[in-house]
């Protein structure tokens, strides 16, 4: 039995069907990150777990117990809100201790617990201040302290870092990760930030329009997406998704792509069995920018490299990398090259494709074309729902 089990959960606000049957199960100690476009129902799901919104249909189990009808204060769940939601009239200590006070924890015990939480978050010197006198990062810490102090079974975070500036966000991200590792707590976390999702999660759930698209480890979601949406949504810059024609060339299965006036022919090595059925038909293939490189930085050890010469349209240095834009399959695509490259627009250059990382999708249903036996081999317990 999983620790948190979200079973076929629906949510309706009057006529609008916001969540359409979500199934997620995670284990104790897991760090589940919910991602998805704005309005897809992440906050709604979180609020339902917390008990702040009613569950229209389905079942919610925490540690084996059904908690659908349990009052929020008795679910043993704490939540950190996007706006931090610190009580403006109370001091930091008052804020952190409020939940314990409501649970009638004796004063001395309460004070000790507040002190411990404050030490953990390094905010002991702020305990007497009011929230109005704190910086954004300090407020964020207090909000976490308020959740931590109750030592709940489950933590919920709704975009907790989105109001911080970029630098602070990275620091806090690291701290949250450390806290999770140190305390071993179970966390459900909503974010818009790709990097946050990838670095923090042990499980990522990608949602769209009230439906779960994929649930898996960060690596699985990133490298082995279930469908075109997940492929395009995860990763920044996003995966190159272009049209290709599957053909048989001298006994080998290949994907033929237009490249300006030329063509590029890439051997199919992944999901070959499934793609046999698509011979002489068009599919959509996906290649991450880091799977298209200059020949010298290609990963020849793990990958299967295929080189081709293409025209350079645009060069975009980011400092750490150099993104080169070229035409493939009728679209502009991104390739990630060594920063030192002296490429210039208009020039032709050799590109190395790691075809072992190429994934293919059905153009109409947008489902992944995947060999049956390779369905998430590392993830036997994964629950997915695509409808």
């Amino acid at each position: 039995m999983s620790f948190l089990h979200i079973h076929n959960i629906h949510k309706r606000f009057g006529e609008t069907h916001v969540l359409k049957g979500i199934d997620i199960a995670i284990e104790k100690g897991d760090f589940l990150v919910l991602v998805g476009p704005s309005g897809c129902g992440k906050s709604t799901l979180l609020n339902m777990i917390a008990g702040l919104d009613d569950i229209s249909e389905g079942e919610l189990r925490l540690d084996g117990e059904r908690i659908n009808d349990l009052h929020p204060s008795r679910r043993d769940i704490a939540m950190v809100f996007q706006s931090y939601a610190l009580y403006p009239s109370m001091t930091v200590a008052g804020n952190i201790g409020f939940g314990l006070e409501m649970r009638k924890v004796p004063k001395a015990e309460r004070r000790a617990a507040v002190q411990r939480a404050a030490e953990l978050l390094q905010i002991e010197n702020l305990l007497d201040r009011k929230p109005g006198q704190l910086s954004g990062g300090q407020r964020q810490r207090v909000a976490m302290g308020r959740a931590l102090v109750r030592e709940p079974q489950l933590f919920l975070f709704d975009e907790p870092l989105s109001n911080l500036d970029a630098k602070l966000r990275v620091d806090m991200r690291t701290e949250i990760k450390q806290l999770h590792q140190r305390l071993g707590t179970t966390i459900v976390y909503v974010t818009h930030d790709q990097i946050e999702a990838m670095t923090l999660a042990t499980r990522i759930a990608v949602m769209r329009g009230g439906e779960l698209q994929q649930l898996g480890t960060p690596q699985a979601v990133y490298d082995d997406p279930n469908n075109l949406f997940v492929a395009g949504f995860m990763g920044s810059p996003s995966m190159n998704l272009v049209t290709a024609r599957i053909e048989r060339l001298g006994g080998e299965l290949v994907a033929r792509l237009t490249a300006g006036s030329d063509e590029v022919v890439l051997p199919v090595v992944r999901d070959r069995a499934a793609l046999e059925a698509w011979c002489d038909r068009e599919v959509i293939v996906g290649l991450r920018p880091e799977a298209i490189t200059d020949p010298s930085s290609a990963n020849r050890q793990d990958g299967v490299i295929h080189e081709a010469e293409l025209a350079v349209d645009l060069v975009e240095p980011t400092g750490a990398d150099l993104y080169v834009v070229t035409q493939l399959g009728g679209r502009s695509i991104n390739a990630r090259m060594r920063p030192g490259s002296t490429l210039e627009p208009g020039q032709r250059a050799r590109f190395a494709f790691d075809v072992s990382r190429m994934v293919a999708f059905e153009p109409d249903s947008e489902h992944r074309i995947r060999n049956p036996e390779t369905v998430a081999p590392s993830e036997p317990a994964v629950v997915t729902s695509i409808s």
């Binding site: 008990g51 702040l52 939601a85 610190l86 009580y87 403006p88 009239s89 409020f98 409501m102 308020r146």
Partner: protein, 291 residues
């Protein structure tokens, strides 16, 4: 906006005209108050000589003393002081009760919404705008039935009932912009309905409490219609007494006493206005409904 288009900032003549016009209006606005004040300090003989703009030749407090303690209103010759205290007896409970009810209503209507909350609010809100003539007749009867006709208690009830609309509007609009997440956080922390209200919302509500108190205070203090309809004689509020003094006195009109009495009636709200004009204005603006 003001930053963008100062009329002829570099044209000193236009600037001077602008200030002159504004100052002219200021004089016009202050004039009645000024005339009231100087008249109230003049002996009657000086008033009959004419120029009402002139300062008194012989300053006298007699009109004020008379207005407060011995002017005849109806058959009673003891000035307006009793009516002044009547008004206080009406205002204090009316403001407190309607304010408290409004605060709770605003809290429920924003943070504990239920099906039909909009209709309930609409019905309550519309009650601020009815012409009170529509309720005068039945209210007079109901006050009689409750044996509180012609009493300050009766007026307290009336002002509470017809004040709820505005107090609810004020608090509802204020709490609507109060983050829901705070209430949700408190629920998770285990706080209930009243704890959330008293511990989380109320401490942050000082501005709207001030606005509500000032608004209700001004409205109730300045009320005339309810006072004149539901009370007479001893239990009337100050506005009714002032009107009786000014408009039904027989014999020689003591204008100076009238003005002094008018000042007595005006001073409490003027003081509030001068001390807390910002909140007064805010109340006026929300009273004109900004959803």
């Amino acid at each position: 906006m003001s930053a963008a288009s100062p009329v002829a900032r570099r044209n000193p003549f236009a600037r001077a005209m602008l200030y002159a016009v504004l100052a002219g209006f200021a004089v016009i606005y202050l004039m009645p108050l000024y005339v009231m004040l100087v008249t109230s300090f003049k002996p009657l003989t000086e008033i009959h000589q004419g120029n009402m703009l002139a300062l008194p030749d012989a300053w006298t407090f007699a009109p004020w003393r008379e207005a407060w303690g011995s002017a005849c209103i109806g058959l009673e010759c003891s000035g307006v002081h009793g009516y002044f205290f009547n008004s206080i007896k009406i205002v204090v409970p009316a403001v407190l009760i309607s304010g408290l009810l409004g605060a709770f209503n605003g809290y429920v209507l924003t943070k504990w919404r239920f099906r039909g909350h909009k209709i309930v609010f609409g019905l309550i809100l519309f009650s601020c705008f009815i012409p009170f003539q529509i309720i005068l007749l039945p209210m007079a009867r109901v006050l009689g039935i409750l044996h509180i006709a012609n009493s300050t208690t009766g007026l307290v009830l009336v002002h509470v009932v017809y004040g709820i609309g505005f107090t609810t509007l004020f608090f509802r609009n204020f709490y609507a912009s109060f983050p829901d997440e705070l209430v949700r956080a408190a629920k998770l922390d285990g706080a209930g309905f009243f704890t959330i209200f008293f511990r989380i919302l109320l401490p942050s509500s000082i501005p709207i409490i001030v606005v509500t108190i000032i608004w209700q205070f001004t409205n109730v203090w300045n009320d005339f219609l309810f006072g004149v309809s539901f009370t007479s004689g001893d239990s009337a509020p100050i506005t009714v007494a002032l009107n009786n003094l000014v408009n039904s006195s027989t014999g020689v009109k003591a204008y100076n006493v009238n003005m002094a009495a008018a000042m007595v009636a005006a001073v409490p709200t003027l003081v509030v206005y001068i001390l807390a004009g910002k909140y007064f204005l805010r109340g006026l603006m929300s009273g004109s409904v900004k959803g």
